[in-house]
Symmetry: C2
Subunit: 143 residues, 2 copies
């Protein structure tokens, strides 16, 4: 029997800019310039819930969340608070939000979900932020 393949959910693909494939997760930048916001999707087929990941995958996910969080903090030094969440009420494919918040951002202190209109990056902004985050992520993944 063939192994089922990992396929990124179409809505996650449409909403993110690809950043990198870490050992477990595909990491993307949410296309919302209001918040430094990463999405980590474990490349494990048919998993909806974090506790359903195997123990080794949970360990690796924790390491990748740490690296993603550090990368955001280094790339955006005015950030004050991490928000880390797996919700998935709309898109059931397991994905973890890692978002850096600060007092005065577009939703503060409310959560980012259902807080006004998403503001897509323009091309130049997206290129700059992707470059900044790629550098920071690679640094944290090589540590």
């Amino acid at each position: 029997m063939n192994q089922p393949e990992f396929r990124l959910d179409g809505r996650l693909e449409a909403d993110t800019h690809f950043l990198l494939d870490a050992p477990l997760c595909r990491i993307g930048l949410m296309d919302d310039s209001r918040f430094p916001w990463l999405i980590l999707v474990p490349r494990v087929p048919n998993v909806r819930e974090w506790p359903d990941l195997s123990t080794p995958d949970q360990l690796q996910l924790q390491a990748e969340i740490n690296a993603a969080a550090r990368a955001l903090q280094q790339a955006f030094p005015h950030g004050q608070k991490l928000n880390i969440a797996a919700l998935g009420n709309v898109v059931p494919q397991l994905h973890i939000h890692v978002i850096l918040r600060h007092d005065g951002d577009a939703a503060w202190p409310a959560p980012v979900w259902n807080s006004g209109q998403r503001q897509p990056y323009d091309d130049a902004e997206a290129a700059d932020v992707l470059d900044l985050l790629n550098t920071a992520l690679l640094k944290n993944f090589s540590d």
Copy 2:
């Protein structure tokens, strides 16, 4: 020098019913009868961010999130989706929300935060739910 002591933030204490002290976390039931909603607070002083926990504490937190999630799923078999989140924009003491959601609950499919008025349990309901969850948590912590 004395070790700083763990003290549960007053707002978390006011908003929850105490359930149990697991090896790492104090676990409480959020006093909102609209959702089966646990709050896990690592008993580590002065930690605001999940990635700032030590590696052993992160491992233990993961195990306790798994146990809390399983307990909710067993106690409320109509649940369909876990929401797991560390936000802390208002209460900075690190605390993890583990919530069981279902299609048609009071906020579905939106996140629970900022979704209408909290509905505190009445005394009889609280006693029943605490009893149900204590049994389920103890079972999952002894596995």
